[in-house]
């Protein structure tokens, strides 16, 4: 099992969720986050006071997959969430030791 932490632009969430569903991935969680990377922030102006905003809003999706779904999933996300501009986001991939479906007690891949 692999866990993906997918950080994308806020406007991309629905498209990414749809494309993952089409791959047969039927469960994920997402969080609205703020952060910064290479993308510069933006300025906001309130009554002539210019303020630099460094942390930008992003969406973080967390999803755990069967190993054989890893490459199709990351490719689909890349094709969907990409604009080619700085700030498209990142995917962090890690191994997951085990999982359990709380309702049935199933373990491992069967729990996904």
């Amino acid at each position: 099992m692999k866990k993906l932490e997918i950080i994308i632009r806020p406007g991309m969430f629905e498209k990414v969720r749809d494309v993952l569903s089409e791959l047969g991935i039927h469960g994920l969680n997402y969080t609205e986050i703020k952060g910064f990377g290479r993308q510069r922030g933006h300025t906001e102006v309130y009554r002539g006071a210019i303020m630099q905003v460094d942390c930008l809003p992003k969406i973080k999706i967390e999803v755990v997959l069967h190993d054989n779904m890893l490459e199709p999933a990351v490719n689909a996300v890349m094709l969907t969430a990409r604009t080619g501009q700085v700030g498209d986001g990142k995917i962090f991939i890690s191994a997951v030791e085990d999982a359990m479906r709380i309702r049935t007690g199933q373990r491992g891949d069967a729990a996904l």
Binding site: E44, V45, Y46, R47, G48, A49, I50, M51, Q52
Partner: protein
């Protein structure tokens, strides 16, 4: 007394009352989310406290029989003699209606100051300050201008409260901001938490301002109509003046700039609403928008933390308006000419009223703030400032989402 004038002023008084919740929204949107209720409370507390004090002593100090041109006597204390008989200052109205209309002005003026001390002043200190300020500052200044005091007698023009309401709240705001010191971590972190609230509040303020300015004619007639139109046009031009300057200065026009410019135009036209013609009113509003944009930039230059720009908008806008009334007043509108209509002396009178208002209000407010600080302490503790005054002063939060 007559029914049309009475009906008109009753409606105007209710419109001015609506300005106070509108001000709460306007200010509430500009602060951070953790202070939204405390900022609203400043306005609602004024509705409670100032209204009551106005009935007990404020009204009589402003509109009682003149004592030396400085303050009214106690003839109407506890509203004694304020009943259905004609009001001494406006015989076309019942005395109660005149008193009630003036009450709304007092509440609004005291509430305006809260923009300077928002996000850091203790609620108890705010109550004590507001009570003392109403009695010791607002009531005398209202008397000077409208109650038969020295400023009105020397011929200073202030139709609806350029000096009494806006300059005085602006000067008090400067004194408060300097006495309290800046909010912790002033700078890039003070971002308005809900501008739609501010825009809604500002829009309702514009509506209420028609009651404020047109109602100050105290009669339903041509003068009220003149004030309605000058008020509206000045506000419209204030939007344009502000956003043109900020478009040049920072690159983009903002919604906060538009509503701030509207208020700047409204403040600027307040003293002249019933003295100037419509085209000059448009110029007063347009320049008012530009002047107040510059005014709000002053605080970073001089280092006082006037949180919500009371000095920049009400102080400077009111000052510009008082001066502009001396420039543009026309006898064809209301019997007095200004500089551009051949009466340069009016400008000197207006300048004297500006200097007198700023000097008295600023000094008196510094003294009151010092007194309140010694009695109950002005500021909340730093930990409370970090966590927010909503929780710290009122045990509630604005948003439990």
């Amino acid at each position: 007394m007559n029914a049309p004038d009475t009906a008109f002023v009753i409606i105007c008084a209710t419109m001015v009352m609506l300005m106070i919740p509108a001000l709460a929204l306007f200010y509430g949107g500009l602060v951070r989310a953790r202070n939204v209720l405390s900022t609203h409370m400043y306005s609602y507390a004024c509705l409670g406290l100032v209204s009551v004090l106005w009935a007990l002593v404020g009204y009589t100090l402003a509109f009682g029989d003149d004592m030396g041109g400085l303050v009214g006597n106690f003839r109407f204390a506890l509203l004694d003699g304020v009943n259905g008989n004609p009001a001494p200052m406006a015989p076309q109205l019942p005395h109660t209606v005149f008193m009630g209309f003036q009450c709304m002005f007092a509440v609004l003026t005291v509430a305006l100051i809260s923009g300077a001390y928002a996000e850091r002043m203790r609620f108890s200190a705010m109550l004590l300050f507001s009570a003392l300020w109403l009695v010791l500052v607002y009531a005398p200044v209202a008397h000077w201008v409208w109650g038969g005091g020295w400023m009105g007698r020397m011929g200073a023009l202030d139709f609806a409260g350029g000096a009494v309401v806006h300059m005085s709240s602006g000067a008090a705001a400067l004194a408060c901001a300097q006495a309290l010191g800046p909010r912790i971590s002033t700078g890039s972190r003070h971002v308005p938490h809900n501008l739609p609230l501010t825009l809604l509040g500002g829009g309702i303020l514009w509506f209420g301002w028609f009651g404020f300015n047109a109602g100050s004619a105290l009669a339903a007639g041509t003068l009220a109509g003149q004030a309605l139109v000058t008020t509206h046009m000045a506000a419209a031009c204030g939007i344009l003046g502000w956003i043109i300057v900020e478009w040049k200065h920072t690159g983009k026009p903002t919604s906060l700039g538009a509503i701030s410019g509207a208020l700047a135009g409204l403040v600027a036209i307040t003293p002249g609403a019933g003295f100037v013609d419509v085209l000059p009113a448009m110029l007063i509003g347009f320049i008012g928008g530009m002047v107040c944009y510059g005014g709000v930039l002053l605080k970073s230059r001089f280092g006082y933390d006037d949180a919500l720009d009371v000095v920049g908008i009400h102080g400077l806008g009111g000052t510009w308006g008082a001066l502009a009334t001396g420039l543009f007043a026309s006898a064809a509108v209301n019997g007095v000419d200004g500089l551009f209509y051949g009466n340069p002396g009016q400008v000197l009178i207006q300048l004297a009223s500006i200097a007198g208002t700023w000097a008295f209000v600023y000094v008196a407010t510094r003294i009151i703030v010092r007194l309140v600080g010694a009695m109950v302490g002005l500021r909340v503790a730093p930990e409370e400032e970090y966590s927010g005054l909503d929780l710290g002063e009122h045990n509630e939060r604005g948003y439990n989402l």
